[in-house]
């Protein structure tokens, strides 16, 4: 006892330490139990052997994984040019919906209609309509490429969501900020650019991270109109081997990218909560 007193721990701290240790042990024990149950019970299911052969075949995975990685570069490419376009278009739509001048009323209507339409239509439909429809009008190559029009479909759909998030960010900046800036003699334009937007954008960064992660997965929808990205490549292997393991391989590649991104978004969100408190 005297030794502990010397370490500077009060009785309360000792009690709390004991509690922490106890809950740690309980958490560890329960995790081990659940994992053990999964590892032991699942293979006991009568169909496990077939499921394992269909979804977790090591040789099929080894054969297909390098090519899946190759195909994933197509996803990365489409993502790389779509994301900046979405950010810019999304911000423009948000600003259009927020236009205050009466003369700009048509712009507000346009912004509202745009978000309504593209948020309301399933992405895959937009991809089909724009990806096959516009090239069908008779554009010459390479301007009828499914890469261009498929990407445009993604950009339109995602800008609608991103614009709404930006708008929420703009609304989250207190009106007193605007009044104060206006009273200092700043123009409406300056107020938006120098006072409101910097705060608004900062507020919505975590939410926009989630949109990036969603976009990263939805790039695969372009496979429906031709591009052989990872999902289509996995489908080709699935048909060739009559085995679903390539899909699991594709899922692994997606997770390698999305898990760190998701964790980062969580971290940003938590930090923002702390700062606001």
């Amino acid at each position: 006892m005297p030794v502990l007193e010397a370490a500077g721990m009060t009785r309360r701290e000792r009690y709390e330490q004991k509690q922490r240790l106890k809950s740690l042990l309980i958490a560890a024990a329960s995790t081990v139990c659940v994992i053990a149950a999964l590892v032991i019970l699942v293979p006991m299911a009568p169909g496990w052997e077939k499921v394992q052969k269909s979804f977790f075949d090591g040789t099929v995975l080894a054969k297909t994984f390098p090519k899946l990685l190759d195909a994933f570069t197509v996803n990365v490419m489409i993502f790389a040019w779509s994301a900046p376009a979405i950010a810019i278009l999304g911000l423009l739509i948000a600003l259009a919906r927020d236009a205050k001048s009466p003369a700009l009323f048509p712009l507000r209507i346009f912004g509202a209609a745009f978000t309504d339409v593209f948020r309301g239509v399933p992405v895959i439909l937009t991809v089909y309509l724009i990806g096959f429809g516009i090239p069908g009008l008779g554009l010459p190559r390479p301007w009828n490429s499914p890469f261009i029009w498929g990407s445009l479909a993604l950009v339109l759909t995602y800008s609608a969501y991103v614009a709404e998030i930006f708008r929420a960010g703009i609304d989250s900046v207190h009106p007193s900020q605007r009044s104060a800036a206006l009273s200092l003699g700043l123009s409406e334009r300056q107020v938006m650019r120098d006072v409101i937007l910097p705060q608004a954008v900062r507020n919505v960064v975590p939410s926009q991270m989630n949109m990036l992660i969603a976009l990263q997965k939805d790039v695969s929808l372009l496979s429906f109109i031709g591009p052989v990205e990872i999902f289509r490549q996995a489908g080709v292997f699935k048909s060739l081997f009559a085995n679903f393991t390539p899909y699991v391989g594709a899922a692994i590649i997606f997770l390698i990218v999305t898990i760190p991104a998701t964790r980062y978004a969580d971290y940003l969100m938590a930090r923002q909560m702390r700062e606001r408190r």
């Binding site: 077939k50 009828n144 429906f224 109109i225 031709g226 289509r232 080709v236 060739l240």
Partner: protein, 285 residues
């Protein structure tokens, strides 16, 4: 008198009972001969019924009007002929629909055999069972209006922009035989390939010959089947088999039925009836 008469009556009754009994048992034996005595007995999903899966939708000329129950179309006709050969009456054939993925997923199947132009490959054969081939399909090249003057040579085909249905063996054939200069674009089904050809996003696509002829004649305006790969060369031939669950005991019965249909020439006559003559399409050199 009376006892005698009585006994005669008894005899008559006994006799008629015997005859009736024999007739009934004979009738029972007759039905047993179909249900119990045949190879397929107790091996099907539902006793006495033969459940066949087809695509959703099922395409011409394999199944007419998406109605396999009519027996119209090549695969529907073959299905009923095989069922008859195996001892099933027409009304005992049950149709269900399935996708490729449902056919290869692990676990219990909802069909005895699945017929939708499944090409038999060594890799697939490890996971599912195939019957003997019921059709050997030459692969053919279908081109859109802008490329109809392409010559049917490998050299000329290389420079085309290619497309195919991603789940078919055409993908491997394009990669191994044609080796095009541009990466092919792949699609989910025939209708999407059709849309891509119409939008001029691809020049040509590879299908089995009957499908290519149908698409060119009915679906895609201005398109043309410019050539076929010789079906005889073994590495090019696409053989269609009925797909069954791995280890399905029914396989030997189906194979037996198909063999007798091949030997009797009835399979060939079904083919002649439903699939058009394909000799007019030039061979690709």
């Amino acid at each position: 008198m009376l006892p005698y008469r009585k006994s005669t009556i008894e005899k008559v009754i006994i006799m008629s009972k015997r005859i009736l009994g024999a007739a009934v048992s004979l009738a029972l034996m007759a039905t047993n001969a179909i249900a119990g005595g045949h190879c397929a007995a107790d091996k099907t999903l539902t006793a006495g019924k033969f459940t066949i899966a087809t695509g959703n939708p099922a395409y011409y000329p394999w199944v007419l009007d998406d109605a396999p129950e009519s027996g119209q179309g090549f695969e529907a006709a073959v299905a009923y002929a095989v069922a008859k050969e195996m001892g099933f009456a027409e009304q005992d054939v049950v149709w269900v629909r399935s996708s490729f993925d449902e056919a290869i997923q692990p676990g219990v199947k909802n069909f005895d055999v699945n017929m939708q132009q499944y090409s038999i490959t060594a890799e697939r054969d490890q996971v599912v069972d195939f019957s003997l081939p019921y059709y050997t399909a030459p692969m053919a090249v279908l081109v859109g209006a802008s490329a109809t003057d392409t010559k049917p040579t490998i050299a000329a085909l290389k420079s085309l922009k290619w497309g195919a249905v991603g789940s078919t063996t055409a993908v491997q054939k394009i990669a191994s035989i044609i080796q095009p200069t541009n990466d092919p674009l792949l699609y989910g089904d025939n209708a999407d390939v059709n849309a891509a050809i119409s939008a001029n996003q691809i020049d040509g696509a590879m299908f089995d010959l009957p499908t290519a002829l149908f698409l060119s004649a009915v679906m895609i305006e201005g398109s043309k089947v410019i050539g076929q790969f010789p079906a005889a060369s073994s590495d090019n031939a696409d053989q269609f088999g009925m797909l069954m669950e791995e280890g399905n005991p029914l396989k030997s019965c189906v194979d037996e039925a198909l063999t007798s249909m091949i030997n009797s020439g009835s399979l060939a006559s079904i083919e002649a009836k439903w699939l058009q003559d394909t000799t007019g399409v030039p061979l690709i050199k």
